[in-house]
């Protein structure tokens, strides 16, 4: 491909926040991807840190198996605090 590999771009908007996916771009290598990401996604000081990841290196869950993949969590309501019956007049619980 003449435009280079696809890189996904993640930006940390400010200190204290996680990097968030903002989009993608093409670049011949990771160094160029990082510079292009700076020009494309942080023209107005939208970030204090940028990650680029080659799209091919990302392993993702498949929407097709969404049900079976996330199913094990669905029937374990006892993992949530609201599952438990406790007297109403107990404080700090």
């Amino acid at each position: 491909m003449s435009e280079g590999a696809l890189y996904e771009v993640f930006v940390r908007p400010k200190r204290g926040l996680s990097h968030v996916h903002v989009g993608s771009l093409h670049a011949p290598d990771a160094t160029m991807a990082l510079r292009n990401a700076r020009d494309l996604y942080t023209r107005r000081q939208e970030g204090v840190s940028v990650w680029v990841v080659a799209a091919d290196d990302i392993t993702a869950s498949s929407p097709d198996e969404k049900d079976s993949f996330f199913d094990p969590a669905a029937d374990k309501v006892y993992r949530h605090p609201t599952f438990y019956d406790v007297p109403e007049d107990v404080e700090y619980l």
Partner: protein, 348 residues
């Protein structure tokens, strides 16, 4: 079309989309009944994400619309880029360069969104260069004077914002997210345009005349940016409004958006002291909207079909820029390969 979608492309967008109708029917029937399915997600106003199951036509419509939108952004760099070297002051020049760079950025956000649908960016550029995919017709008009830079910001970007704001709630996640970024940046574009005209309108007689001339030339093409009317004879030009609204891609009809734009813009023109070139423009108390005159749809179709003043020049310039940039892409690739080989050698 700066976020609007009409006209037809000459052929299927890529080989993967030429699927037979029969293949689609079976899955379409199943989808209707399954929770978490495409139709269920659309009905519940949930977003569709890249790897979700979606009807072929939905994917195809989105690729066409997002590509057309991306092409509009990068072709839209030309009319204004034309004035960078002749901007009247360093301040105006810096602003104009920032704006044209934003347009490039908008194009790239949108190509990035289109690629999540499984289409390759270079394929889309090929289609633009060979005329198989369109861009907004508004960019087939020339920028004759400096005031045109103001008129584009005020009217063209103003109309674009009207089209684009509802797209921030589009059912396709990556498109909606790209549009949020774009809309944040468009507001600067519209205001800088208004400021250019505001300055000219309070300047010398010649400057005022220049501002008026720009408004005269850009008003009608700006109204055409919303696409053909939703009803009547001129509506039969291949609009996709109804289906796109059902899919949550489009939120308002062309005529609704056009009316909103006119209602917003007329008071701004009055403030500028400029006349809009429509003798039928008057406030309708009963409707609570501005009435306006007939739009020359033949002109729109002529320009879309290639007969606008700048169609040939825009594509020729785009192709030259792409070809002239080939050595840069090749050099960057060669450098990347060399560096990768060197790293590998060092490890081994």
């Amino acid at each position: 079309m700066y976020g609007n979608d009409f006209g037809t492309d000459a052929e299927p967008l890529n080989a993967a989309e030429g699927g037979a109708l029969d293949d689609v029917l079976q899955s379409a029937t199943e989808r209707r009944t399954t929770p978490g399915s495409f139709d269920d997600l659309i009905a519940r106003e949930q977003r569709i994400e890249p790897r979700d199951d979606m009807p072929d036509d939905y994917r195809k419509t989105l690729i066409r619309q997002i590509a057309q939108h991306a092409h509009s952004e990068i072709i839209g760099m030309q009319p204004e880029g034309n004035w960078i070297s002749r901007a009247p002051s360093l301040r105006r020049k810096a602003i104009l360069m920032a704006k044209v760079q934003d347009e490039a950025g908008h194009g790239l956000y949108l190509y990035s969104a289109a690629e999540t649908l499984g289409v390759d960016r270079s394929e889309l550029l090929d289609k633009l260069h060979s005329g198989r995919q369109k861009y907004s017709s508004i960019f087939n008009y020339p920028t004759a004077t400096w005031a045109d830079v103001g008129a584009i910001g005020w009217l063209v970007d103003g109309a674009a914002i009207m089209n684009q704001v509802p797209l921030c709630r589009c059912s396709y996640g990556p498109y909606a997210r790209a549009m949020i970024r774009v809309c944040k940046e468009e507001s600067f574009h519209q205001r800088q345009g208004f400021e250019i005209l505001w300055t000219l309108a309070r300047g010398t007689d010649d400057q005022k005349a220049m501002a008026q001339d720009a408004a005269d030339r850009w008003w009608w093409p700006a109204l055409m940016m919303f696409g053909p009317p939703d009803t009547g004879e001129a509506a039969k030009g291949g609009g996709h409004t109804e289906q796109s609204m059902a899919w949550g891609i489009k939120r308002f009809s062309n005529d609704d958006l056009r009316q909103k734009f006119i209602d917003m813009t007329v008071p701004q023109a009055q403030k500028l002291g400029l006349t809009l070139p429509d003798p039928d423009l008057r406030w309708n108390e009963e409707r609570g909207h501005w009435d306006f005159g007939a739009i020359d749809w033949d002109e729109l179709w002529r320009v879309i079909k290639g007969d606008g003043p700048m169609n040939a020049a825009r594509i020729a310039h785009r192709v030259t820029a792409h070809d002239d940039g080939a050595w840069v892409r090749e050099a960057a690739t060669a450098y990347a390969e060399k560096s990768a080989a060197r790293t590998k050698g060092a490890v081994a």
